[in-house]
């Protein structure tokens, strides 16, 4: 039997790495990748917790896994839009550095 708390711990570690990536890397694509990593970490936590509920003698549940499906959907949509935006931005400013796209304050 897998130690679920370690699964959750792994999820936390991956999430932290994703966060640091999203905060420090200046490359737009890498930032998006970091966000994907964070989503994956969350998915791992869902599946891990679902494993506990699946063994519940009073009736097993699948809600965690279904939630993961939703997250995957959202992630796919987000990447489609996010990469579209990256393409548009790079076309406009000829740069993939997030510091060159600091016009959000207006």
């Amino acid at each position: 039997m897998l130690p679920i708390d370690h699964v959750i711990g792994l999820s936390a570690v991956l999430f932290t790495i994703g966060t640091v990536g999203a905060l420090t890397r200046r490359n737009l694509i890498v930032m998006l990748m970091s966000i994907e990593l964070m989503l994956n970490a969350a998915n791992l936590a869902f599946v891990g917790f679902n494993r506990i509920w699946a063994a519940n003698p009073e009736g097993s549940a699948l809600d965690g896994q279904i939630f993961v499906l939703m997250v995957v959907t959202v992630a796919a949509a987000e990447i489609a839009i996010g990469l579209g935006m990256v393409i548009a931005l790079v076309r406009n400013r000829d740069s993939m550095n997030v510091e060159d796209h600091s016009v959000l304050k207006w």
Binding site: T19, G21, R91
Partner: protein, 169 residues
């Protein structure tokens, strides 16, 4: 220690390695993407160990397949060796602040997990996690979220087309 547990730790190490590679390959974006691919595949393995067969399959198909390929497409579209890609290393102060915040978050999360005292994974009922079960759930109890997700995908598709076509001034 069963073979399953050994496998889990091995896969976990691989996932962390992939993630760190993504984070630390500053000059090579393609290498970063490959690191992410490693993490995603190893996560698929962990899902299998957790008896989530459908999720494992989707992890490979959607993440390691579709999404990563999409990333690579975009990277290839522009010159990957352009100096502008990652012109400068992140400033030291930003790394420190982000590191502290992230470490804090990690500490809190792990402390939360430890203090919660999660039970071990028990015995699974017969035939758990089959595609059939999930499909039934999806199209009965979760039919409205499924429809909403479909709508979201449609909107994202339209949006991506519009964004990629137009030149924003």
């Amino acid at each position: 220690m069963t073979i399953e547990v050994v496998l889990f730790y091995a896969l976990a190490a691989l996932a962390v390695f992939g993630a760190l590679a993504m984070l630390l390959f500053v000059r090579e974006v393609v290498a970063s993407a490959m690191g992410l691919a490693v993490t995603m595949v190893s996560l698929a393995g962990i899902y299998l160990l957790l008896e989530a067969h459908l999720i494992a399959a989707l992890q490979i198909i959607v993440y390691a397949g579709a999404i990563l390929v999409l990333f690579l497409f975009v990277i290839m579209l522009f010159d990957p060796n352009n100096d502008d890609f990652d012109r400068a290393d992140p400033p030291q102060i930003a790394i420190k602040v982000a590191g502290i915040a992230a470490a804090l978050m990690l500490g809190v999360a792990i402390a939360g997990v430890v203090s919660a005292g999660l039970p071990d994974a028990g015995e699974l009922p017969e035939g758990f996690g089959g595609f059939r079960d999930i499909g039934l759930q999806l199209f009965t109890a979760y039919v409205i979220p499924v429809e909403a997700a479909g709508l979201l995908l449609l909107a994202a598709m339209v949006g991506a087309v519009v964004l990629a076509k137009q030149r924003i001034d």
